[in-house]
C-alpha cells in the first residue's frame, strides 16, 4: 500500500521535529517519507503478535549511584560554547 503523506502530516512532523521546511522541501520530504514508509511496511509481513518488543539486547536496569559531584566547575568553558551568554547564563530569545 502506498503511503501518501498529507500536507497536514508533514506540517505536524515539522512541529515535532522542530524543523522549518520551504514549500519545495516539504514536497520532497513528503515523497521521501512516503517512499520510506512503503519500504518499512514490509515489516507487516511478519506476524509479531506474540513477540515482545526488544529495546535492548541485554537486560538493562537502572544504574544507581550516590549523588556525589565528581566534576569540577566548568561553567566558563561551557558558556564559551553558547551562541549568546550574559552574566554567567545562557541567553535565550524572549519567550513571552
Amino acid at each position: 500500500m502506498a503511503n501518501i503523506i498529507s500536507d497536514e502530516t508533514i506540517e505536524y512532523v515539522g512541529i515535532l521535529a522542530k524543523l522549518e521546511l520551504s514549500g519545495q522541501q516539504k514536497e520532497q520530504a513528503k515523497k521521501d517519507m512516503g517512499r520510506m514508509l512503503d519500504y518499512i511496511d514490509k515489516l507487516s509481513e511478519l506476524d509479531t503478535a506474540d513477540v515482545e518488543p526488544m529495546s535492548h539486547v541485554f537486560p538493562v536496569q537502572n544504574v544507581f549511584r550516590e549523588d556525589v559531584v565528581t566534576n569540577g566547575d566548568t561553567r566558563e568553558q561551557l558558556l564559551a560554547n553558547a551562541p549568546e551568554e550574559k552574566d554567567g547564563m545562557f541567553m535565550v530569545p524572549k519567550t513571552f
Binding site: 515535532l16 521535529a17 518499512i40 511496511d41 515489516l43 518488543p53 526488544m54 539486547v57 541485554f58 530569545p93
Partner: protein, 489 residues
C-alpha cells in the same frame, strides 16, 4: 620502510626499544597528512601543535618507564563524533561548527592512558548518518585506492586515513556498519565489538541502542591491541558491560581447526557483485583449508533488517538530536522571531538533508497513532532477528559473508537515491540490531583495484573467535604473498 607505513603495534615496539620516538612518529605522520590530506580530506581538524605537545609528554613517560603498553607513543586519528576536551568536535555538521567539548570520551581517555597521541579528528557522514562520508558539511573524503570513489561511511575519514597512512590507527563508530563498511571499501581491518564492550560516554549519540565505538587498523593484531585498550566498564554509560574476557590479543593464534563457520545463503543472493562474492568465497576456502568446517545455511529474515533498523535508528536519532537547539552550543540562526522560530531556523539551517530526513522519519514513527504500528513493530522484528541469530549460533561459531554488496561506489552516485543507499547496509545492519560483534577483513580487490572485505560475525562476547579466524586468514594471505614474491625473485 618509512615510519608511516608501520603498524601501531610495531611502532610502539620501536619506540620502546629506542629506535624512534613518539615525537618522530608524530612529526612523520603530520608531514604525511600535510602531503596527502589536501587531496583525500580524511581530517576535519588536524591538531598539529597539540599532537607534538602530547608526543613530547608521552615520550618522557616512556623513557621514565611510566608508560610501557603496546600503544604507547603511537599517533591516532579519532572520528569527529568523539568528544575531545579542548579540541573541536563537529560531527561533520554545520550545527556544531564551533563546538569545543569540555570533556573527553571515555574510550579516548582509555587510549590516552595508554599513551596515545591524538593527531586530529576525522571526517564522517554528518552525525554518522550515511554510508559514503558525502553527507559531511566539510567536504567529501576520497578513497585512497581510487580518488574518484567514496571511502564508505560513516567512518570514512578514519578508514581512509588508515589506508592512506595518515595515521597508525583510528577510532570509528558503528551504528549499522559504519566501521566495517568503510574498512571494507578502504582495504583495512575494522571491528564493531559486542554492544556495551566500549563505553559510549562522550560519543555524540545517533542510535543509542545500536552505537558502538571500535578500531580501524592496518592489520588484525592492531585491531586486537586497540580493542583491548578501548574495552572497559564505565559507570557513566548505563549500557556498559562488565567483562572479564577483554584480553583480546590472546586470540592472535593461527588456528581455526574445528571452528564451525556458516555462510548464509541469504548473503550471497541477488544484488551481490560477482567479484565480491568470488573473493569472499575464496577467503572462506582458505579458512576451510586451515581446518574450519564451512557450510551454507539459511539465516532467514535478512530482508527485514533494513526496514527495522531505519525505523529504530531514525526514532532514536530524532530524540537524541533534540538537544541541538541553538542555545547551549553550536549554530544559532541570525534572524528569528521568538524562541520556537529560533529553534526551527537554527536546526533547519544547521542540519544537512540526510539528518533532517531521519529526524522527520523518527519523529513520525514515534508520534501518537503511529508508535505501535511502526516503532514497536520494529522492536518486535528486532527480537525475531535476534532469535534467528541465536539459532544460527547454536550451530556455528561464526557467520561469514561479504561486508557490502559492492566495492566502493563512485563519488556523487549514492545520495540521489537514499533508499538505494540504505540497501547497501544489508549485510552489516542486523549485527547492530542483535548487539553482535563483527569484523571486516580485507580479502582481495576487484578488477578496478578497489578493495573487498570479508565479514565475520560472532555471537555476543565472541570477539576472540573472530579475531582468531581473521588472524589466521591474514597470516595465510601474508605468507602466500611472500612466497609469491620469493618465487618471482
Amino acid at each position: 620502510m618509512s615510519i608511516t607505513e608501520m603498524t601501531a603495534a610495531s611502532l610502539a615496539v620501536a619506540i620502546r626499544e629506542g629506535k624512534t620516538t613518539a615525537v618522530e612518529a608524530a612529526e612523520a605522520m603530520l608531514a604525511r597528512i600535510e602531503e596527502k590530506d589536501k587531496e583525500l580530506n580524511c581530517y576535519v581538524t588536524v591538531d598539529k601543535e597539540g599532537a607534538l605537545r602530547q608526543a613530547a609528554k608521552v615520550q618522557e613517560k616512556i623513557e621514565k618507564g611510566e608508560l610501557t603498553g603496546p600503544l604507547a607513543g603511537v599517533p591516532v586519528a579519532l572520528k569527529d563524533n568523539l568528544c575531545t576536551a579542548g579540541l573541536l568536535t563537529t560531527c561533520a555538521s554545520r550545527i556544531l561548527y564551533n563546538f569545543v567539548p569540555t570533556y573527553t570520551a571515555e574510550a579516548v581517555i582509555n587510549l590516552q592512558k595508554a599513551g596515545a597521541v591524538i593527531l586530529g579528528k576525522t571526517n564522517m557522514d554528518e552525525f554518522a548518518m550515511g554510508s559514503t562520508t558525502e553527507t559531511s558539511a566539510y567536504g567529501v573524503t576520497r578513497n585512497p585506492h581510487n580518488t574518484d570513489h567514496v571511502p564508505g561511511g560513516s567512518s570514512g575519514g578514519s578508514a581512509a586515513a588508515v589506508a592512506a597512512g595518515e595515521c597508525f590507527y583510528a577510532l570509528g563508530s558503528d551504528t549499522g556498519g559504519s566501521i566495517r563498511q568503510p574498512a571494507s571499501y578502504c582495504g583495512v581491518v575494522g571491528m564493531k565489538p559486542t554492544y556495551g564492550t566500549v563505553s559510549r560516554y562522550g560519543l555524540v549519540a545517533y542510535g543509542s541502542s545500536l552505537d558502538q565505538i571500535g578500531p580501524l587498523t592496518k592489520d588484525v593484531r592492531d585491531c586486537a591491541v586497540v580493542l583491548e585498550t578501548l574495552a572497559s566498564h564505565d559507570d557513566k554509560d548505563s549500557t556498559s558491560l562488565v567483562r572479564e574476557d577483554t584480553d583480546f590479543t590472546s586470540a592472535l593464534v593461527e588456528d581455526v581447526k574445528g571452528l564451525r563457520i556458516g555462510i548464509p545463503n541469504d548473503y550471497l543472493g541477488e544484488g551481490l557483485d560477482e567479484e565480491v562474492k568470488a573473493a569472499v568465497l575464496k577467503a572462506a576456502g582458505v579458512l576451510e583449508e586451515k581446518g574450519a568446517a564451512v557450510e551454507r545455511f539459511d539465516l532467514s529474515l535478512v530482508e527485514y533488517a533494513i526496514p527495522a533498523y531505519y525505523t529504530i535508528a531514525a526514532a532514536e536519532a530524532s530524540s537524541n538530536l533534540e538537544r541541538f537547539d541553538g542555545i547551549k552550543y553550536g549554530y544559532r540562526t541570525k534572524e528569528y522571531a521568538g524562541l520556537h522560530n529560533m529553534y526551527k531556523k537554527s536546526r533547519s539551517e544547521g542540519f544537512g538533508e540526510e539528518v533532517k530526513r531521519r529526524i522527520m522519519l523518527g519523529s513520525f514513527v514515534l508520534s501518537s497513532g503511529y508508535y505501535d504500528a511502526y516503532y514497536l513493530k520494529a522492536l518486535r522484528v528486532k527480537a525475531l532477528i535476534k532469535k534467528a541469530f541465536d539459532e544460527a549460533f547454536a550451530k556455528y561459531d561464526m557467520i561469514l559473508g561479504p561486508v557490502a554488496p559492492t566495492t566502493a561506489p563512485k563519488l556523487g552516485e549514492s545520495l540521489a537515491d537514499p533508499l538505494k543507499m540504505y540497501l547497501g547496509d544489508i549485510y552489516t545492519i542486523a549485527v547492530n540490531l542483535a548487539g553482535l560483534p563483527g569484523i571486516s577483513v580485507p580479502c582481495g580487490q576487484d578488477s578496478k583495484g578497489l578493495p573487498i572485505g570479508m565479514q565475520l560475525i560472532g555471537d555476543c562476547f565472541q570477539e576472540k573467535k573472530l579475531l582468531r579466524a581473521a588472524y589466521t586468514y591474514e597470516q595465510y594471505e601474508k605468507n602466500s604473498r611472500n612466497a609469491d614474491i620469493h618465487r618471482m625473485g
